[in-house]
C-alpha cells in the first residue's frame, strides 16, 4: 500500500465517522466539503495530471447540476435516473468543446476554457430554451427515492456525497496506476519526449477532460440534490478560478494538497460565516504567498509510486 492509498483510506475513515459526532448544520458543511472535494479532484485530473490549463471547470460542474435539475423538474425524471445523463452530458460537452482547442499552448487553452465557462453562464442567465430558469435558477428539485425510501435527511445527503467521494478516490487510484494516468504525467512533464515514446497527446488530454468533466458532473448532480435548487452564480468563472487555484496552491496531483485547498477555500468560510467576505482576501494572500514560497504547492505531489519489488535498491 502506498502513501496516497493510506492517506485516502485515513481520510475516508475520518469522514465516515464524522457524521456520528456532528449535528445537522455541521453535516451540511461536511457534505459541501465532500462535494467540492470531488470537483477539485476532477479539476486536478485535467490540470494537475494532464497539465492542461483549464479554467472553466465550473461549467462542467454546473452542467451536471442543471442536467439533474432540468430533467427532474421539467421532465419529471426521478433523481436516480438523472445521474447517468448528469455524468455523460458534461463528458460529451467537454469532448466537443475541447477537441478543437486541445493542441493549443497553455495560455491559449486557458482563455478558451474561460470562454466556454462564460458562454455556459450566459445560456443559464438568459434562460435559453426556457428551461434554465434564468438568473433565479431552478427550485424544488426532488430528493433521491430508492426502494420506496426518501433520502431527504442531511445525513442521507452526507453519505451520498461520501460514496461519491469514495468512488472518485477509487477512480483516481485506478487512473494513477494505469498507463492512462502515467501518460498524462509524461505529457505534462515533457510533451516532446512523451510523443517520442508513442503517446498520443490529443487522446490522453481529451481522456483527462472527459473523466474530469464526468466527475464534476456527478458532483454537480449531488450539489443540486443537496440544496434542492440550482442557480447560475454557483457556476461562474470565479468558481472556476477557485478550483484552478485550489489545485495549484494545494499541490498539483497531490491528494492531501487538494483536500487542504478545498478545506481552506470552501469549509473555513462556512465555519466562520461572519468572515465569509474575507475569504477571498485570505485566499488571495494564500495564492500569492504560496506561489512565491512554495511554487509547487503547499503539499507537493511526490512521484516514485512504484511496485515494492522494484524498490530493493538503496535510495
Amino acid at each position: 500500500m502506498n502513501k496516497t492509498t493510506i492517506i485516502s483510506l485515513g481520510f475516508l475513515l475520518v469522514m465516515g465517522v464524522f457524521p456520528f459526532f456532528a449535528d445537522s448544520a455541521w453535516l451540511a458543511v461536511g457534505t459541501t466539503f465532500l462535494v467540492f472535494s470531488v470537483v477539485a479532484f476532477s479539476q486536478d485530473i485535467i490540470l494537475g495530471r494532464a497539465g492542461a490549463f483549464h479554467m472553466g471547470h465550473a461549467a462542467f460542474f454546473g452542467l451536471g447540476a442543471y442536467t439533474t435539475a432540468i430533467l427532474n423538474t421539467h421532465f419529471g425524471w426521478p433523481i436516480l435516473a438523472t445521474w447517468a445523463p448528469a455524468v455523460i452530458i458534461p463528458m460529451v460537452v467537454a469532448l466537443i468543446t475541447t477537441a478543437p482547442i486541445i493542441h493549443l499552448r497553455g495560455d491559449y487553452l486557458l482563455v478558451t476554457t474561460i470562454g466556454i465557462n462564460i458562454i455556459f453562464l450566459q445560456v443559464l442567465e438568459n434562460d435559453l430554451f426556457g428551461i434554465t430558469g434564468g438568473p433565479n435558477g431552478i427550485f424544488g428539485i426532488d430528493v433521491v427515492k430508492i426502494f420506496g425510501y426518501e433520502l431527504f435527511e442531511q445525513i442521507h445527503m452526507y453519505f451520498m456525497a461520501f460514496i461519491l467521494l469514495g468512488i472518485t478516490l477509487f477512480i483516481m487510484k485506478t487512473l494513477d496506476g494505469s498507463k492512462f494516468g502515467r501518460a498524462m504525467f509524461y505529457i505534462n512533464k515533457d510533451d516532446v519526449a512523451a510523443q517520442s515514446m508513442g503517446i498520443d497527446l490529443r487522446y490522453y488530454k481529451l481522456y483527462a477532460f472527459a473523466i474530469g468533466a464526468g466527475l464534476a458532473g456527478a458532483a454537480g448532480s449531488m450539489f443540486a440534490v443537496q440544496y434542492s435548487a440550482v442557480s447560475p452564480e454557483a457556476f461562474d468563472v470565479l468558481q472556476s478560478i477557485m478550483f484552478f487555484t485550489i489545485v495549484l496552491v494545494g499541490g498539483s496531483a497531490s491528494l492531501p494538497g487538494v483536500l487542504l485547498g478545498t478545506f481552506v477555500m470552501f469549509v473555513l468560510p462556512e465555519i466562520f460565516r461572519e468572515f465569509e467576505t474575507a475569504r477571498y482576501l485570505v485566499f488571495g494572500l494564500a495564492m500569492i504567498l504560496t506561489m512565491i514560497l512554495r511554487p509547487r504547492g503547499i503539499w507537493p505531489a511526490k512521484f516514485g509510486n512504484i511496485p515494492a519489488f522494484l524498490k530493493k535498491g538503496k535510495k
Partner: protein
C-alpha cells in the same frame, strides 16, 4: 519487401530559406549500427527529427520496411518501432527512474480504454508484467539502485543511460541515438559503447550521431558523412576516415566544433 530497414531517399528539409537537409540518400540494413557524422549544424539532428516525425521534410521519401512514413505523427512513429533519444536529454525529470522507463512500456501495454477508471484482472496483470519489464531494463543498465530517485537528480552519465533504457523498454526495431556520449567522461563512454553493442546483440538496429570519433569508428559498421545538409560520402570506417572531402569538411569548420 525491401532488403533495407530504413531508406532516406532524396530528402530535403528547409527552414525559411535555410537548407538544413539537401537531397540526402542513405540506407540502413537490419542489425547494423549506422553512424551519421558531420560538423555542428550539418543537419544531423534535423534528419533524426524528420525520421521520427517531429519535422516533415518538404521533399523526398522516408521508407520504413519499404513504405513511406514521411509526415507520420511522432507517436505513431514510435508505434512502428522507431524510438529515439535526444541530444539535449529529455527525461521526465521529477519522476522516478522506474516511472521514466515505464513510459517505454506505454505502447506495449495492453490496457483497454476503460482501464483508466475501471481496473480488471487483465489490467492488474498488465501492470505487473510491464513493471517487471521495467525491472529488467533497470537491471540491464545498472539502474536498479535508482528506481525511486527522481531522474533529474542524477548525473549526466546516468541520465543518458535512463534515456536509452526508456527507449529500449519499448522494444524498438530501430533505436536512434543523438550524440549519446556527449557530456560523458572516458569511463562512461566506454560503458556506453558496451551497452550499445549489447543492444545490437539483442537484435536492435541502431542509428547514431556521434562526435567521438573513436567510438564511431569502433562501433559503426557503416556511416554517412554530411555537411550543410548534403551527402559528403559514405562507407565503412576506414574509407570514411581517409576521404579528403571528410577531412576538409571537418577542418573547414573546426572553430565551430566543440
Amino acid at each position: 519487401m525491401s532488403q533495407y530497414l530504413l531508406e532516406i531517399k532524396n530528402v530535403s528539409k528547409f527552414f525559411s530559406g535555410l537548407t538544413a537537409i539537401d537531397a540526402l540518400n542513405l540506407k540502413v540494413k537490419k542489425g547494423q549500427i549506422y553512424g551519421i557524422i558531420g560538423p555542428n549544424g550539418a543537419g544531423k539532428t534535423t534528419l533524426f527529427n524528420c525520421i521520427t516525425g517531429i519535422y516533415t521534410p518538404e521533399e523526398g521519401e522516408i521508407l520504413w520496411h519499404g513504405k513511406d512514413i514521411k509526415g507520420t505523427a511522432p507517436h505513431k512513429i514510435a508505434g512502428l518501432g522507431i524510438l529515439r533519444t535526444f541530444q539535449t536529454i529529455r527525461l521526465f525529470a521529477e519522476m522516478s527512474v522506474a516511472e521514466n522507463i515505464m513510459s517505454g512500456r506505454h505502447i506495449k501495454s495492453k490496457q483497454k480504454w476503460y482501464n483508466g477508471i475501471i481496473p480488471t484482472p487483465a489490467y492488474y496483470k498488465d501492470e505487473k508484467y510491464n513493471w517487471g519489464k521495467v525491472g529488467e531494463y533497470m537491471e540491464l543498465f545498472g539502474l536498479s539502485e535508482y528506481a525511486t530517485t527522481p531522474a533529474g537528480d542524477l548525473s549526466y552519465g546516468v541520465q543518458r543511460k535512463i534515456e536509452m533504457a526508456r527507449a529500449l523498454a519499448a522494444e524498438p526495431e530501430l533505436l536512434i541515438l543523438d550524440e549519446p556520449a556527449a557530456g560523458l567522461n572516458e569511463n562512461e563512454t566506454k560503458e556506453l559503447a558496451d551497452i550499445i553493442k549489447k543492444v545490437q546483440a539483442m537484435g536492435v538496429t541502431i542509428m547514431m550521431i556521434e562526435h567521438d570519433m573513436d567510438m564511431i569508428m569502433s562501433l559503426c559498421e557503416y556511416m554517412t558523412v554530411i555537411n550543410f545538409g548534403a551527402w559528403i560520402c559514405d562507407g565503412v570506417a576506414a574509407d570514411v576516415q581517409d576521404n579528403p572531402a571528410v577531412i576538409e569538411a571537418y577542418i573547414g569548420s573546426e572553430d565551430e566544433d566543440e
